[in-house]
Amino acid sequence: MILADFLLAQPWFVWLILLPLGGAASTFVLPRRVAPIGFCCALLILAGAVFSVCQLTATGSLTQAAGHWSAPLGIVLRADGLAVVMLATTAGVGFIISCYALGYFPARGHEPSRARYFWPLWLFVWAGCNALYVSADLFNLYVTLEIVTLAAVALTALEGGAPAVGAALRYLLTSLVGSLTYLAGVALLYAGWGTVDLSLLSQVLTEDPLSRTAMALMICGLLLKSALFPLHFWLPPAHGKAPAPVSAILSALVVKTAYVVLLRLWFEVFASFDRAMTAHLLGALGSAAIIWGSLMALRQERLKLLIAYSTVAQIGYLFLVFPLAGAETAATVWTAVILFMVAHACGKAAMFLVAGTIQQTAGHDRISQMAGAGGPIGVLAVVFALASVTIIGLPPSGGFFAKWLLLNAALATGQWWYCPVILTGSLLAAAYVTRVLSWAFLDVRRNVCPVSSRVMKWPPLALCLVALLLGLAAYGPVRVALTGAPVTGHVLVEQRP
């Protein structure tokens, strides 16, 4: 039993930051043994995430001050429900992407530099994500956001073509503007209240013009970085042009980092403010994102751009949370958004990995000519179909129960007009997915294509099975997500008259 006690005592959420950083540095220093180091690092991180989940269920949310310096002076790291669920999702999806990348970037392939630089950059993104979910300090969040952005930009440009490099540069400049605007907000808060710690600020912050300006600046910066509707122009080219595992990383994991920061600010730091106007603005932008993103996805000719625009639409769902978070529906909405992020991460990553395999076997990803070029499409079609079940939000996937809770919150707070938006979003998603899936059933002569390696076919299948069964097994993740959450109340709200 000593081992179990030792394992439970270890601060796993801190190890989950140092591990990928060490991995990134060592893969940079030893380029020839990049794949083995990268893979065993992914394995260790996955194990660490599992241990941190067990630790959370055993002892509740943990906090730790870096270097034993308490809140106002030092940096506080906190592993609450939201952080641990996101750590576990990033670890799970990241591990699958790492397995896929072993096949996609063969170390001895014709372009060794792509494999050599994929692993350090990917491990830096992983470290940035883990550090961001765990941090409870505004300036520390700024630095983690920068690590994630810079590494994601370099990964996007890994493809090497002019469109990819152009998209990466536009991504970098937009994110830089977003971060500096966010930093301006942090500066105002520090000037006014002398601390950047989340929990301290939520106690001491009062609502006055300075803090409202800071809130506005920080929210605008984070909107730009999480690509909400009017500020999403940089996302589709970046996600569409990048290599498949990179697109999966960007769409499934990186997009959620800026959003989680916004979630923490909204539910903790600025909880006491009256933000009805801002909430409805975010809700309106979210709804516009859902409709516009889905319509654009319907019109795309290439598969990866279609999936990228689908990401823009699904981000819209996340922003419906703010207007729906009423007094008694806060817990409902908090659970809905976490369930949605986990389901979307798994589903979207599986979709992009399948698109990558199709592009490698068929040589292109144009939807219209995909039927003929299919090759051994059995597993690919099944994986894409299962992943799209989550994206559309059909039962028994996690997406379904997330949308159920969103609808419940919308009806409980009387804002019924969000219901048609949520439902139309699902139907439009079904439309653009059917457009892609019909090539799987088209009965046309398939020319024989090189069979993609085993490691590229089966991991996405595991990922979308997780997304599919998440709905049925939602009890565990939801309970974990609610530990230490800054919300109270029932998950399912009934207006008992």
Partner: protein, 328 residues
């Protein structure tokens, strides 16, 4: 009297900063913009001195004006050849800038008013007091270095990760291009180099050592060392091929890895991140700073060179072929 004189200088500095920034972004000629930007960096260093932040003044001077300036000038050499693109849009740039002037003026004025009307401005004492009283528990006397390496050491760890990440990003894009001019350097430059290099190295060592009790520290020392390294590379000195392999990569990542190992060691030992044994003895902080400054120097220099070393045979960065064909 001196108070009035102080206010005058502040006002003058603030106005000139704004006007310089405006001119810098409005001109159509890129070279003029870059030179103005370097001047802007120096003025910013002055502003930091006025704001009683000597560390920032040093950093701004070396990094803001120095390193970024060299970076922009080398970029100009590549981007300027496409000068026609720059000129073509120059005209329209000026007109659109003037047209939207009013909109530009309203937003900052609104923000200034908002900040002024808040009672909270300057009401809090900030963390100066709590930093000063804890200085004795750690091995350094200078508050900024204390915050950088002990109170918020985790931020500094992530910051060095960002630096290493920048080099990895730059290297992942393209092999190194010959950037420095082929003309043989004039004897005056060679003499200046022989004089300047030792002074540069001495100052950066002094800055490094001084960081423990006065403004200075790893970043400023590293940046200064990088400036020296670039000066060396400007004057025909090249890093031999076999050095640009594993040795260079170890040098680049060394500082970060040592810092990471210290953090991991502290985590295993005491179970909390970056909790130095014995409250951070001065020798430990100084050794970390030394390693960091070496790595930062190498990182900044390679970021400016801007490309990954191709193979073992050629020097790094390669000598630029003279357009006329004979070896420079």
């Amino acid at each position: 009297m001196t108070l009035l004189f102080g206010h005058l200088i502040d006002l003058l500095l603030a106005v000139s900063l704004t006007v310089l920034a405006w001119r810098l972004l409005a001109t159509s000629d890129l070279f003029k913009a870059t030179v103005l930007f370097i001047a802007f960096g120096l003025l910013m260093a002055l502003a930091w001195v006025r704001l009683d932040a000597p560390d920032l003044a040093l950093a701004e001077a070396v990094i803001g004006a120095g390193i970024t300036g060299v970076l922009l000038l080398t970029a100009l050499r590549h981007l300027d050849s496409g000068a026609r693109v720059a000129r073509m849009s120059g005209r329209s740039g000026r007109r659109s800038l003037r047209v939207l002037l009013p909109a530009l003026g309203i937003m900052p004025a609104l923000l200034v008013l908002l900040c002024l009307s808040s009672p909270h401005i300057r009401s809090t004492a900030g963390l100066t007091a709590s930093v000063i009283e804890r200085l004795d528990q750690i091995g350094t006397d200078h508050p900024v270095t204390a915050v950088l390496l002990d109170f918020r050491a985790y931020d500094t760890l992530l910051e060095t990760a960002v630096l290493l990440l920048a080099v990895v990003a730059v290297w992942s894009l393209h092999p190194v291009r010959p950037i420095f001019s082929p003309e043989p350097i004039s004897p005056a430059q060679r003499g200046l180099l022989r004089l300047l290099l030792p002074v540069l190295i001495m100052t950066s060592l002094y800055l490094l050592w001084r960081g423990s009790h006065a403004p200075g520290g790893a970043f400023q020392a590293g940046a200064l060392l990088a400036a020296g390294l670039l000066l060396l590379l400007l004057s025909e000195q090249r890093l031999p091929g076999r050095w640009s392999g594993m040795f260079l990569r170890l040098l680049l990542a060394g500082g970060f890895m040592i810092f990471l190992l210290v953090a991991a060691g502290a985590l295993v030992g005491t179970g909390t991140l970056l909790d130095y044994p014995g409250g951070g003895a001065s020798w430990l902080l100084l050794s970390i700073e030394a390693a960091l400054s070496l790595s930062i120097a190498a990182l900044l220099a390679t970021a400016v060179i801007g490309g990954r070393p191709s193979d073992r045979s050629t020097e790094f960065p390669p000598r630029r072929k003279d357009p006329a064909g004979e070896e420079g």
